[in-house]
Subunit: 497 residues, 2 copies
């Protein structure tokens, strides 16, 4: 057996472990009964241990290193598989096993403590854990690359190729162009939501509408499914098993509808990755940011557009004739794009959303610059909320404690959320040139848009970088100016005409 | 580390593999999308291979053998764990690995071919596969124990301690007492089902009633859940994760109601196994027959009783006032115990059910006696159907091809179905003495019956044999006379008074 065949064999075994761990996690997050978790956690940690051992075994390392040094006989795709494998190994190996174990224990514990702190609105309760996690992350960054800026190590983990310099450029646009523009729009916002936005919409019919949306967006039901969970998410093991979840709030129809379209964006991406990558480490979307670009594109560009509701409001009105009586597509479209200052990121509208991310990026940057004491974090957070969103944070649960990410050590993740929206805008301007976008949406032919995105983005999986995809598709590397332009055009049209 | 501790460590790892394979199989059987199976099967076979390797590793064998030979320092429970482990090893080891692999491939294939043969009503299509499977089973029985009768090897696999001699005694009662009695009852059966039995009952309300039944039978929803699937089944990984499924037929309410109570019987058993066995090979019910005794007890003895419907028909009528208008508990009870000649085992009533099993037992016995050619199987089947149920089989799908079991090599399984009903009858006569059974059912206090069965049957898991459980509970070993007596008393009362 030659080296690459043996590499594939070892990879396949790793994939098998990923599959069973993935199915278990899907089960845990959607239906597993409460009482099963102590037993399950203990057992799954054994399987995770086996997986860890496989993916760091000496034989595997040797093969990957050998193929990495001498890739002549490999095809282009095979070279990319080896490159990815090498990078994954280099990420884990420098961390001593005992640090790895202690860190896993710490983040498991911290997540529970964060939950408690948030429930009690008590930052001090969470503070010691946050401090330890930050300490650990700094140490791990140093172990992995003593010469790199620690924040850059993690920014690259979540979005290959990104670093502080690039993000600084991006967030400058957010701060200097989008923030002032948002202020203009917020000055003339609709003070109250229209009545149909806060009416009661029974769960079962909301579900029917989401099932209808699955067809509208051409989700392949043979290769996936819809389920319910507390926090909506998309899950997949390969291109033929892609699932997503929704939560139905009876007094907030807009939440489930747009969360569904958002997750459908993620799901379509995964269903359209070429099946040749199913058994490789190049399956699944190119990066966090590129993934988010697709979910945001379907949610905001397609789903929150006037033509979309010209096409689909009639169906929604059939399901909810009383609640939507007299409402037209124009009104519904405006409600779907209502802007407002909010404390909570996940409830923010499309326009103010990047400001929430800006706050987090600036704070994370300070943390890894070492300029900051965890004691001061809440005050810093609150000051930035005042600066960018003119809100006075009154309790940590609506400020510093609102997100789970830091409690699980995920520093460097937040920026990809805003980046995704910005990618989406850049892609949108190309699509408008290449396709008759508004007509396709209005005439319920989103499958045509899917086909375009499949060919240009989805089919490649991880075999192209976000940058390669953007350049090939839009003719230029990432350019955040499109994002500012898109938001200004859209919201000027709705609010400032 | 001493030998037993190391044994527990190796066992625990095996349990971890069982858990992830179990969760994957639950997912496959309840919701996994169609297209995912080729990838999934390939990946899961790798994980199964790992599990096989663990459970047959030399280290594991050595430890088990050593502890088996020198068990002095072990507690009684530990001795039983070792005994069970030894038996499991002895079951696998004599089969050469290449036979094991080829056999697995054959039964996977045969199951699909059986499905096709059944759909096409073409026995000849299935015949060559059946012949190969029988050949393989005979060979494997010989490999495992050249001195034993091959059928006895498999009878013991499915019900430890049972053999042809014991089953012959049991089925003699079925043939000589139950069969003639059934004939008497069938002679005066109700020719047509009452109208409410075949009315339409919307799915959602059927589901509400099954959820109500979960509370009636005191199923712990924190430690399990209800879901839907094509074939109802119960699934569990340990006492704190026990799930069951139901299928709702809108034009046959009785099917989902009694299937639900049946599965709830299995599920209650599993929830009531002592948690001390969760991490051991003694978890889960004592045997197939003992398990079936509990499902049949709850389904037939509790669920198809008059007091049960005196207590719960009002709830059902609230859900279906139109369909059940004017129906009283007495009529409902009679309908729930309607007898009829049927071709299909799974549709049979409680009284004729053992005749279906008798036919299968007699045929399996002949197969392993070597007295039979697969060419003749359909004719033999049909003759027996005529003899015991006075029915003329017109096509193999309503005769020899109806069940999946043989296509998967499960010879020796069927008898446990009838055995379970017989255990249930024997247990019932003790319960009637020890508890005020009818009052508890009528007054909706089934939890009291659960507590009794927990203490006498469920809590032990596999740490006692069926025989030990029966003797301790009823004062005597298995005695099939109780079964005949139970059926005669019940059906005489309904039909022959």
């Amino acid at each position: 057996m030659n080296g690459f065949d043996r590499f594939k064999e070892l990879q396949k075994k790793q994939k098998a472990y990923q599959l069973v761990l993935g199915i278990a996690s899907w089960d845990s997050n959607t239906e597993a009964p409460k009482a099963c978790f102590p037993y399950r956690s203990e057992m799954l940690s054994l399987i995770s241990g086996e997986y860890y051992a496989l993916s760091t075994s000496e034989e595997y390392q040797e093969i990957v290193n050998a193929l990495h040094q001498d890739p002549e006989d490999l095809s282009e795709i095979q070279k990319k598989e080896i490159r990815k494998a090498k990078k994954d190994i280099d990420k884990i190996l420098p961390i001593p096993r005992e640090d790895y174990v202690e860190y896993s224990r710490l983040v498991n514990l911290s997540q529970r403590e964060w939950e408690e702190a948030k429930a009690k609105d008590d930052y001090d309760h969470f503070k010691p854990y946050l401090e330890k996690i930050i300490g650990f992350r700094k140490k791990m960054a140093h172990q992995r690359d003593p010469d790199a800026h620690p924040y850059n190590v993690f920014l690259d983990d979540f979005e290959e190729g990104m670093d502080m310099e690039k993000y600084d450029g991006f967030f400058r646009i957010v701060k200097e162009e989008i923030a002032p523009f948002a202020k203009e729009v917020l000055a003339v916002k609709d003070e109250k939501p229209p009545e149909f936005m806060v009416a009661t919409y029974p769960r079962d019919k909301q579900k029917q509408f989401v099932e209808y949306l699955m067809d509208v967006l051409a989700f392949d039901k043979n290769r996936g499914l819809l389920k319910e969970s507390v926090h909506p998410f998309t899950w997949n093991t390969h291109s033929k098993d892609v699932r997503f979840t929704v939560r139905y709030l009876e007094n907030y129809l807009f939440s489930s509808v747009f969360a569904a379209i958002h997750e459908l964006g993620h799901a379509l991406y995964e269903q359209q990755v070429d099946e040749m990558f199913d058994m490789t480490n190049l399956k699944s979307g190119a990066s966090m940011g590129m993934h988010e670009s697709q979910s945001r594109f379907y949610e905001n560009v397609v789903g929150r557009s006037l033509p979309f509701w010209e096409a689909h409001l009639p169906k929604l009105k059939k399901l909810f004739p009383r609640q939507l009586k007299g409402v037209d597509a124009e009104e519904f479209f405006r409600a779907a794009n209502r802007v407002d200052e909010t404390f909570i990121r996940v409830e923010a509208d499309e326009l103010t959303y990047p400001l929430h991310i800006l706050i987090r990026y600036e704070i994370e940057r300070m943390i890894f610059e070492g300029q900051i004491d965890v004691d001061d974090l809440p005050a810093i957070w609150n000051k930035k909320m005042k600066q960018y969103l003119n809100l006075d944070v009154e309790k940590p649960s609506q400020g510093i404690l609102q997100d789970v990410h830091w409690s699980t050590g995920m520093f460097g993740y937040f920026p990809t959320y805003a980046l995704g929206s910005a990618y989406a805008a850049q892609i949108y301007y190309t699509i408008k040139e290449e396709l008759d976008f508004e007509r396709l949406v209005r005439e319920d032919d989103i499958a045509e848009i899917n086909r375009f995105l499949k060919e240009k983005v989805h089919c490649y999986g991880k075999s192209k970088t976000p940058e390669e995809i953007l350049v090939a598709l839009t003719g230029e590397p990432f350019n955040p100016q499109y994002y500012a332009r898109y938001l200004k055009e859209k919201y000027r049209d709705i609010y400032l005409k």
